[in-house]
Amino acid sequence: MTKGVPDFSEGVVSFDEDGHLERGKTPTVMNPNDAYALEAALQTKVRHGGTVSVMSMGPPGYQEVLEEAMESVYADDAYLLSDREMAAADTWATAITVATGIHKLEAEAGEEVDLVFAGFKTADGETGHTGPQTAWCLDWPMITHVIALDVDEEERTVRAKRLVEGDIEEIETVETELPALIVPDPEFAPSYHRASHRLTHKDLRAETRERVNDIDDLVTVWNHEDLNLDPDYIGLDGSPTIVESVDPIPKAPSEREATMIDPADEDAMGEVLDELLPYAD
């Protein structure tokens, strides 16, 4: 699961005079936290094979986001859930839509999805709800804050280390059955400690470079009718969340004062020296 967000990096993002984000002027990029989800998916693919699909709900212009996601996860294909009815969805309506998309994917592929990876919070909404709510819709177990991950193909289980942040940082190991939804933590570090894994990784990279040339053929777009979704339950109409207003975070007032002095002004410089004198020893 991935999503496009405004590119908040310095020099790229554009705000209007009131401090509101100018979406039109700010390019859309892949949600930075999704990178960890994609890395975890890639690690699983490298170690266990299988196919990786990227899925996103968003406007038709998401092509670049999907391309970026596909390239970083060496994905096999991508699914874009997109139409007007889905627009302005909150996390709840998004989760319903995505979960339905996952079911459709299973039906089309004739295979069950074993693992879904979701990013931890988006850079624009910051809720962190979409992943967990999708798991709830799918009725799957979920492991969040994952920093390391191990799948047992025979037993059909996944074991994960999760970072539990409290007064002291703790790491706990949990295990659940497949299928499951995984939310990797930004601390997630993929590990390729076997030569064969690294060779596979290299193969996948080469294959993906070839594949993304034909990205248009690899992206499937589904609208709400394809997904057989009632417009009342998705998009704005299906969103119980109401954002009343957004308050800009006020700039912290500076607690220190500064006096500007022209170095050419001898008197003023003399005062500076006087001020410094006590520390000179």
Partner: protein, 557 residues
């Protein structure tokens, strides 16, 4: 215990010419081969002069193994070769294309990033077919042993791997050769140090300034009094659109003469002889350095142990044929011979016995004979002892010697001698051939060069600043074990990115107060290190290569 490890039929450590040749030759014989290279890309750690030779007498040349190498990965073929004897601004030049052409099928200038990266792609493709492949960013840090026998390798980044054949093609300062106890890094007399600048120059300018037909290249060597008495010389080679200008000196000479390698390079760069070639705008693309083994002294006569074989610089197989330096070609030959040996051993049901066969092949193909010539042993026995070489040196420099060297008869004779492969093989490692003779020749027979150099080489700060590093912060790959000036002081001037009185390099001179007395000592910051290997030999250090992908990254090489 080793059952749980991944196993490949062959592991090749290092993707320089030796490793690439070994891996290609193994893969072509259907041996499942894994190549491990520590650089971010093959070539990113490597430095050469350099001219790669395809020798007529060699059982394998690089284009035997990689038929497209010349069209895809090498630069200009060398069609002209000169040696310049220098004394002040007087220069006496000899054409040594005979020496160059002796036993030479072809010889091209190369830049290592370009060449090695191309070779590595080829190698990966061929090895992948066998179930192996080539991985970059992996540093092998030692040998895996079982019951005392070498069975595989251990790495910084990945789990240990076992193999039936382990090819150490990890270059000069081979950690594997050291681990196996086959090579040590003790004696400066056994090594040269090479330092190089790659200088930007458009292709058409190269052809105009060197007066070359389109697409062809020239090589120029320099010896004489321009290097503060250090034993060695300089070179200028033409690449496609740059020049490789460098120096190679006996490491013991750098230590003993207390010279700064970068200043010796600058002496060459700023010599008026080079002024017309370089022109007004000097743009240095890269400064680099690397140790070079002297095969006459260190080529291991029996470069194997258990399943391990050493090829190329790792085995000291770097031949200084007089002024001509041949390392890459021998590394290629050795790599392919090791592959041949393994396949034959495997066929005979004893894949772990490749080493003995490899050694026999080095001998029977005449490769070892080139690396450790018998003639040199005899000449060395006569020429090297200090009293004799000192005597020869003073005779050459004396009025008698000057007269003898400085007439037209000797001019002709010298021309022939310099161009003779036989003589080149016998050159003793004394000052006489490197400094005294060239200086006297130039003084007596040379013509003054007109013109004046406008070249202002960058200082060390700029040179370091222009290099790309991925520093492994908090994990220095070199640790000084004895910081006293006596033990490690030589590194301050010998290190190519350090200098006396320069605070921005690796090694610095420090004064420490102990019990009221002051002592000289050294301190080390590995950040600017170019991994040349010098301080592994001249200082008391615990020396390793940085982990995979860390440290310096050469773009030219």
């Amino acid at each position: 215990m080793t059952d749980e490890y991944e196993h490949y039929e062959a592991i090749v450590v290092g993707a320089g010419p030796g490793g690439a040749a070994a891996a290609a030759a193994l893969a072509d014989r259907d041996v499942e081969t894994l190549v491990l290279e520590r650089g971010v890309e093959a070539g990113s750690k490597n430095v050469t002069g350099g001219l790669i030779y395809a020798e007529e007498s060699a059982p394998y040349t690089i284009d035997d193994l990689f038929p497209d190498v010349r069209s895809e990965a090498t630069d200009r073929p060398v069609t002209e070769y000169y040696l310049h004897n220098v004394a002040g601004n007087k220069v006496k030049t000899y054409d040594i294309s005979g020496l160059h052409g002796h036993d030479t099928e072809w010889s091209d200038a190369v830049l290592r990033r370009k060449m090695d990266a191309w070779l590595a792609d080829e190698v990966h493709e061929r090895c992948r077919e066998t179930g192996g492949g080539l991985l970059t960013d992996v540093r092998v840090n030692g040998l895996l042993r079982e019951d005392g026998e070498i069975v595989g390798v251990t790495c910084d980044e990945i789990e240990p791997i076992t193999a039936d054949l382990i090819v150490a093609a990890d270059g000069v300062n081979s950690e594997l050769a050291r681990d196996a106890g086959l090579m040590d890094w003790e004696d400066p007399e056994e090594w040269f140090q090479g330092v190089k600048a790659v200088v930007d120059l458009p292709a058409d300018e190269i052809e105009t300034r060197f007066d070359l037909p389109e697409g062809e290249g020239a090589a120029h060597l320099f010896s004489g009094d321009l290097f503060e008495g250090a034993r060695g010389g300089g070179f200028v080679y033409t690449n496609d659109d740059s020049l490789s200008i460098g120096t190679v000196f006996h490491l013991d000479s750098i230590v003993d003469e207390q010279v700064e390698p970068h200043e010796l390079l600058d002496a060459l760069l700023t010599h008026p002889l080079l002024a017309d070639w370089i022109g007004e705008d000097y743009e240095e693309l890269e400064y680099s350095a690397k140790l070079v083994p002297d095969s006459k002294k260190v080529a291991h006569p029996s470069p194997h142990e258990d399943r391990l074989v050493l090829v190329g610089d790792a085995a000291g197989q770097m031949q200084a044929q007089g002024p001509i330096i041949k390392g890459m070609n021998h590394a290629v030959t050795a790599g392919a011979l090791a592959a041949e040996a393994f396949v034959e051993a495997r066929r005979d049901g004893d894949p772990h016995a490749a080493g003995e066969r490899y050694e026999r092949k080095l001998d029977s193909t005449g490769t070892m004979g080139k690396l450790r010539p018998r003639r040199y042993k005899i000449a060395a026995a006569l020429g090297e002892p200090e009293p004799i070489s000192g005597l020869v040196d003073s005779v050459v420099a004396s009025p008698v010697g000057r007269l003898a060297l400085g007439n037209r008869v000797s001019d002709k004779l010298l021309g022939r001698l310099y161009d003779s492969p036989f003589m080149a093989m016998m050159v003793p490692d004394t000052r006489t051939p490197y400094v005294t003779m060239p200086t006297v020749i130039a003084e007596r027979l040379g013509e003054p060069v007109e013109g004046e150099s406008h070249v202002e080489p960058p200082d060390l700060t700029e040179r370091i600043g222009n290099l790309t590093y991925n520093t492994d912060v908090g994990n220095p790959h070199i640790v000084v074990e004895d910081e006293s000036w006596e033990a490690s002081g030589a590194a301050v001037w010998s290190c190519p990115v350090s200098a006396r009185g320069f605070g921005g390099g690796c090694y610095r001179e420090e004064t420490v107060e102990t019990n009221g007395s002051t002592e000289r000592a050294v301190s080390l910051d590995t950040q600017p290190c170019v991994e040349c290997g010098t301080c592994a030999v001249v200082a008391d250090t615990h020396w390793e290569h940085p982990s995979g992908g860390k440290g310096v990254e050469f773009k030219q090489g």
